[in-house]
């Protein structure tokens, strides 16, 4: 598939998916009513009676922030995955490999177990204390991994992967250990948090992830040339005039920032970061200039679709979106792999 075709396909399906997402849910709202409400939001002309007030709340306070959040989290996860795979030149690299996810879990658990009493009433910018703990946990663990693998000769990719596995294992063990000090309430909090959740999306959360997402997206795109050079190997990239160490440091920090904030607001959602970049690479080739934005778009759309299905498939109840990202994405990925084998 040509890159142009794929981008056209994704760009066309995005508004479509958003429209479907806006109109489906417990309360059925037809498209024309949605458009009518969008228009009235802009002009603020007619007085709102109670019924249209309810529809407005559902559309703009419940569905829209949730759609935005799902999209942004998907974008950040997928683009970070693409960058990690490029940086480590390893197809299995994903943000979780360098400790982002386990660090986030650890941070969340520490907050739940040791600051339990504070949890109910405190929040910072609409984020709960747990989310804040998760964010700093992921930052902290990744920095340890980074320090461990960096010497005067630069950052060693293989050491970083090993250190990532070791530190993640340690963080995971501390995490399980903590559960023995937790009471009933805390245990439930731990397990629920780890399942991932987009249902309590609100505008402050959207703005946090949106801000981080755009920042990360811009800087990543500017480094796509360096990532391309890194595909040839580190020393080759250095000979091409790229400050490899600086690029690594920057990209690892930004990935942590992006994934850390995504995990903080939505819990751990697997699969998007690992497989979306591979799918896009199989479709359009390894040029990071196109790979990064298209992975971002595809990741956002996948999580959007997954979350829409997650909330309507067993309506009135819903299921964790992580289940659906895998169910939707995995078969498609398998088909692509099988196809590739035939071509060789």
């Amino acid at each position: 598939m040509a890159p142009r075709e794929l981008s056209a396909l994704l760009l066309l399906s995005l508004p479509l998916v958003i429209m479907v997402g806006m109109s489906t849910g417990a309360v059925k709202i037809p498209i024309d009513i949605i458009i009518q409400h969008c228009v009235s939001i802009f002009f603020r002309s007619n007085g709102t009676d109670l019924n249209s007030g309810q529809i407005e709340i559902i559309l703009f306070d419940i569905r829209l922030p949730r759609l935005c959040l799902a999209f942004l989290v998907g974008v950040v996860l997928a683009i970070s995955g693409a960058v990690m795979q490029g940086l480590f030149r390893n197809p299995l690299a994903a943000p979780s490999l360098i400790g982002v996810s386990s660090g986030a879990s650890l941070g969340a658990s520490l907050v739940i177990v040791f600051a339990g009493a504070w949890l109910q009433s405190n929040s910072i910018l609409g984020l709960s204390l747990i989310a804040t703990g998760a964010f700093f946990g992921s930052l902290f663990v990744t920095l340890i991994v980074y320090r461990l693998s960096t010497s005067i000769f630069g950052t060693s990719v293989s050491t970083m992967l090993l250190a990532g596995i070791a530190v993640s294992a340690l963080a995971g063990a501390i995490n399980s250990w903590l559960s023995y000090f937790a009471d009933n309430e805390m245990l439930r909090q731990l397990s629920v948090w780890q399942m991932g959740n987009l249902s309590t999306a609100n505008w402050p959360r959207v703005f946090i992830v949106g801000f981080v997402g755009i920042f990360v997206l811009i800087i990543f795109s500017r480094e796509s040339q360096s990532l391309n050079a890194l595909l040839l190997g580190e020393s080759e990239a250095r000979h091409l005039g790229i400050d490899v160490q600086r690029v690594k440091k920057k990209l690892i920090l930004l990935t942590t920032l992006g994934v850390g904030s995504a995990v903080a607001v939505a819990g751990t959602i697997g699969f998007v970061g690992l497989v979306i970049p591979h799918m896009v690479r199989l479709l359009i080739g390894p040029d990071h200039k196109r790979l990064l934005p298209l992975s971002a778009l595809a990741g956002g759309i996948l999580l959007l679709i997954a979350d829409i299905i997650a909330r309507v498939i067993y309506a009135p109840i819903e299921i964790p979106p992580g289940i659906l990202t895998a169910v939707l994405g995995a078969p498609f990925f398998i088909i692509l792999l099988a196809d590739q084998r035939k071509q060789i």
């Binding site: 309360v27 007030g53 559960s179 245990l187 309590t200 109840i317 819903e318």
Partner: protein
């Protein structure tokens, strides 16, 4: 199968039965547990292990508390239960410790402890009696069973009758009242509730309420705010202490188009009174009925 074997089997079965009959008639106690298994004790239980806080509480209530030698980590009521040896935590049961306590009866809670634990305990040749309460009306019968197993028959009968009477009163005084659409929240982020299979839903029904998620499929469904808006509950309940009330109400105040929020009908019930099926569940039910009545009286 040979024809002769067909005859031999019933003969053996009948003769075995006759060997056993005098003993059963003598002093054995037989009760059917909630897995529909017949559990037989040679004598009333004197050394009991309880793997669920509500069973511990019920045993204390009928006066068998002194016979409990081991409890699960959440058994915290009554006060005396706190000093009994703990035999498990959320993920593991200490089988060695249970064996060393030499219990003659172990009470387990099937959906809480899991069937694996029941099976392992049975393999260790312990007598396991499994309990699962999903309706308030099961509690009197359960009390009587516990009484027979622990030789507290008289006391347990009295308490069971008392429970029955109070339950009937609650039932009677609410069955003709206006039905109130009720949402019972057990988790905030994501929002979770309980379906019709749960004891809480039974309490809602007794108070003349309708659990808006009664027909949803898992026992503990995840739901979203939009669905709650669609079902538009008239009363929203949750479990918790009063400290939680302010922040919890504040979270809901964003959704003023829900009848319960608009009318201010958001109430908390102490968790141990509602989520554990015990005698005290009646107190929880009384709270619940009072709150639903408050809606009927003041409306939205």
């Amino acid at each position: 199968m040979k024809l002769s074997t067909l005859f031999v089997f019933p003969i053996i079965a009948v003769s075995m039965f006759c060997v056993l009959c005098p003993v059963t008639a003598d002093s054995n106690i037989s009760e059917v547990d909630d897995l529909k298994r017949e559990i037989t004790l040679r004598a009333p239980a004197k050394r009991i292990v309880s793997l669920a806080p509500n069973i511990t509480e019920l045993l204390f209530h009928i006066g068998a508390g002194a016979n409990i030698v081991g409890v699960d980590e959440f058994s915290n009521y009554p006060h005396e239960a706190k000093s009994i040896t703990r035999v498990n935590n959320h993920s593991r049961v200490n089988y060695e410790l249970i064996l060393s306590l030499q219990p003659d009866l172990v009470f387990a809670w099937s959906s809480g402890n899991g069937f694996e634990i029941v099976q392992r305990l049975s393999e260790l040749e312990l007598t396991v009696f499994v309990i699962e309460v999903t309706k308030l009306s099961h509690i009197p019968e359960l009390l009587k069973k516990l009484g027979r197993l622990t030789d507290k028959t008289i006391e347990s009968k009295r308490i069971a009758a008392d429970f029955q009477k109070k339950l009937r009163y609650l039932n009677k005084s609410h069955e003709r009242k206006k039905k109130v659409k009720t949402f019972y929240q057990i988790w905030d982020d994501p929002i979770m509730t309980l379906n019709g299979e749960h004891l809480v839903s039974d309490v809602i029904r007794i108070c003349g309420g309708v659990n808006i998620f009664a027909t949803s499929s898992p026992l503990v469904p995840r739901v979203n705010i939009e669905t709650i808006m669609k079902f538009d509950p008239e009363v929203i309940l949750s479990s918790g202490t009063q400290e939680r009330l302010v922040s919890w109400k504040k979270t809901w105040s964003r959704w003023r188009n829900i009848t319960a929020v608009k009318g201010g009908h958001l109430y908390l019930i102490p968790p141990d009174l509602m989520q554990r099926p015990t005698y005290r569940t009646l107190d929880g039910a009384t709270y619940m009925c009072k709150y639903l009545d408050r809606y009927r009286e003041y409306g939205s």
